[in-house]
Subunit: 519 residues, 2 copies
Amino acid sequence: MSATEPRRIVIFDTTLRDGEQSPGCSMNLDEKLEVAQALVDLGVDVIEAGFPIASPGDFESVREIARTVRGSTICGLARCNEKDVDRAWEALQDAPDARIHVFLATSAIHREFKLRMDMDEIIRRAVESVKRAKGYCDNIEFSPEDAARTEPDFLCRVVEAAIAAGATTVNIPDTVGYATPTHFGGVIKNLVNRVPNIDQAVISVHCHNDLGLAVANSLSAVEQGAGQIECTINGIGERAGNCSLEEVVMAMRTRNDYYHATTRINTPRLVPTSRLLTNITGMQVQRNKAIVGRNAFAHEAGIHQDGMLKEPTTYEIMRPEDVGFTKTDLVLGKHSGRAALADRAKALGYHLTAEQLQEVFDEFKRLADKKKEVYDADIAALIEKRMNVAEDVWTLSGYDVHATGGGTPTVSVTLDRGGEKISRTNTGGDGPLDALFRTIEEITDTSVVVRDFRVHSVTRGKDAQGESTIEIEHQGRVYRGRGVSTDTVEAATLAFLNAVNRVAAGAGQPLEARPHDAV
Amino acid sequence: MSATEPRRIVIFDTTLRDGEQSPGCSMNLDEKLEVAQALVDLGVDVIEAGFPIASPGDFESVREIARTVRGSTICGLARCNEKDVDRAWEALQDAPDARIHVFLATSAIHREFKLRMDMDEIIRRAVESVKRAKGYCDNIEFSPEDAARTEPDFLCRVVEAAIAAGATTVNIPDTVGYATPTHFGGVIKNLVNRVPNIDQAVISVHCHNDLGLAVANSLSAVEQGAGQIECTINGIGERAGNCSLEEVVMAMRTRNDYYHATTRINTPRLVPTSRLLTNITGMQVQRNKAIVGRNAFAHEAGIHQDGMLKEPTTYEIMRPEDVGFTKTDLVLGKHSGRAALADRAKALGYHLTAEQLQEVFDEFKRLADKKKEVYDADIAALIEKRMNVAEDVWTLSGYDVHATGGGTPTVSVTLDRGGEKISRTNTGGDGPLDALFRTIEEITDTSVVVRDFRVHSVTRGKDAQGESTIEIEHQGRVYRGRGVSTDTVEAATLAFLNAVNRVAAGAGQPLEARPHDAV
């Protein structure tokens, strides 16, 4: 790097596309809108909102984000064919700043086994699709899928042709996460040196983390001239995920002396955005995750702590507050008002209407009566709870449990469906939760397999709220559910019922393949 | 790299030292012995077993590992002073193949704020300590702490002096996780080119993951001539953790064409070893963790799956079985015998005595009566359960719960202490679990704060076992607990009681600083 003025790197977030299509990360429309708004607040330049042709749900969410979210470019994905491109534009057209992203595989193995096309046909298809997209909008991105394994000469040809056809960004994906930093930097350098019209487009990179190298590969590309990084919150995405937004942004910021690159990211929003996504999907980040993990700034070892007291920079290269960790997150109590709650909800990344705020405030008052101290995580849990029960067919009116260690539990459950109360009492099952779940299955006439079940405390103390997430399988589709309560058993019951409600609403993710992409 | 014959890279695992000292990862003696044995099975060359002078518990565990674990070099850590070195050797002396690892900070910021020593004094102290250690054993490692931020000229001087004094390995730590791949490779290249006696020692690297670059930095060092990598299972360790063993090993194996480097690691042991550590510490890896995460080999997107069917290498750069994922983990049922159970326990990385096997087999038979299908994760949970209750003062004789949604629960608990049964009945609390926990506190006269509480299903199905982990605080110390049962409420109760038992046994980790290291 010879520049002294830092270059501005475009941050392209694909949490809602590559992230959302990975197992355990599917989101409904409301959830996607929350995430999109949080990405705007974070300062993301481009939001890849989905793959419109993949399903009606994908189309709907891209269209709603394009219609309502302001402050970032909204992007939609399309394969190189007319239907995909047309459908993408149909979803994107209401965005004031839209981008169509077309892709086509270029590596020998993909040409032979997946596409059965020769090099000339690939170039013809790529050019046709970029041109068609360009007919709709100026901002066009083209990706040669599996670029990292594509022959260098052919990659240069494809990229040159795509730019000549109108692509304003050319994205180089390491689709299978095979690249190493030096090799991947070399791929970018080769394009910079050999593609004659390369100055007419931004070079982008899209790295997968199969070997743990997505962040390093992206940074190596930036060193060689890449101007856009595709990444996701918490590094979610297919298999081992994508380049982690928080890591790549903080690496450039912390080592600005080395990379001479800046972004528009508002870094104190990193931790709240990470937590928002975790709250929505239930996909926990590990405790030692860089930047946003619970231990990321925990200096436990004694010698470290001694050095820390004398001079923080002996062991600290970033300050916790730079990425949004607050010294204490104790915020509200029973005397706190609506304005204070609205403030905290906003700080946590939520955008509530007046009506939603009122609902959450009522719940907050009930909670504050039970708990002395209401933490940020408690508030986030309350808001998520509201988001999840909005359209539920069945609600929990009451339950009664009698269980004895080693014995057979007896439970009663009363559910409400549109004002009608239905009760059932059962004896049997492995403990009270199993008995409660079986009883709900009977009342709702829904037979399911529990794939994953979790409960965890959201804050400290025996009076902490318990948050439960569940994943169930029903007729070949997977449904998530979540429940929150200071009563852990109730939280689990609510989570199960929430998932069953999603079965009723048809809001599941297929176990089988759906027509989806592969950048 | 010009060599055509792959170089053998030494894998130095510090899960039991740098990993164990991070929050949430403390282990007791039995647990450390299990992990050490699993590391031998994995093919790790050097096991850093602990920091003997840090605490009597650390000393004891290094000594037991040195006495009983065979097949890897056993290493102990020491600061550069006589007491530390003597104590390290005292712990290590029974190992047939021992290494003493001495360290001293060398960067300007550490010299000034932590050590208050000048350069000459640092060199004098390093040389004295290496020589003292050399008097005990031949195999000596020296680490200049914060080497990545140390002036290049001074680093060369220190390394040369340590080798001249007898160090056989010189380890270059990026203590604060500040390095970038190109920069860190340059640090290694500088040593290779400028230290006259560098050929008399192995160059090692020890990278932290604060910016998500630990694996890439380690690989960059290997490219420049490093011959040892320090790493941990699941990348656990201080703050954002250390270089992840599974990632760095699989990167070298998958890209052997590029790195020309091999290790002695038995890669199909990677997933079982990762799971063993997760089971022992309760520190979950995230679902999209590279190599060992649940999604690491999950190809969900449709186009991917289509390509996969035609030719796996279109999207798969490693085979799941290469890292130890099995196609199905359904293994045992009620008719399975002791030999089948012993086989699976061994495959999962456990080393059971005949007596332990019998205990686990009895539990297995009880479980198989309740569950049709017993999975690997069920077996691991049973074994962990046995390991945790071994020395418990209090055991759960029975409980009775009566709870109503929104109402006040009534619970009875009976605990056994050395044959004496103590019962208590209570009304109150936020739901049944809270009430059960409060009642146990009363009976055992132990007042605690719950820091973290989790329950999750270990396998699929409503009859799956629930595994609960809990972290409680009592008088400035933190205690972990774990419980397993097909009844989720019982699992949680057992976890709480297990943690209370650790309070009784004094088996906690201090909240405050302990005299610990900082490589």
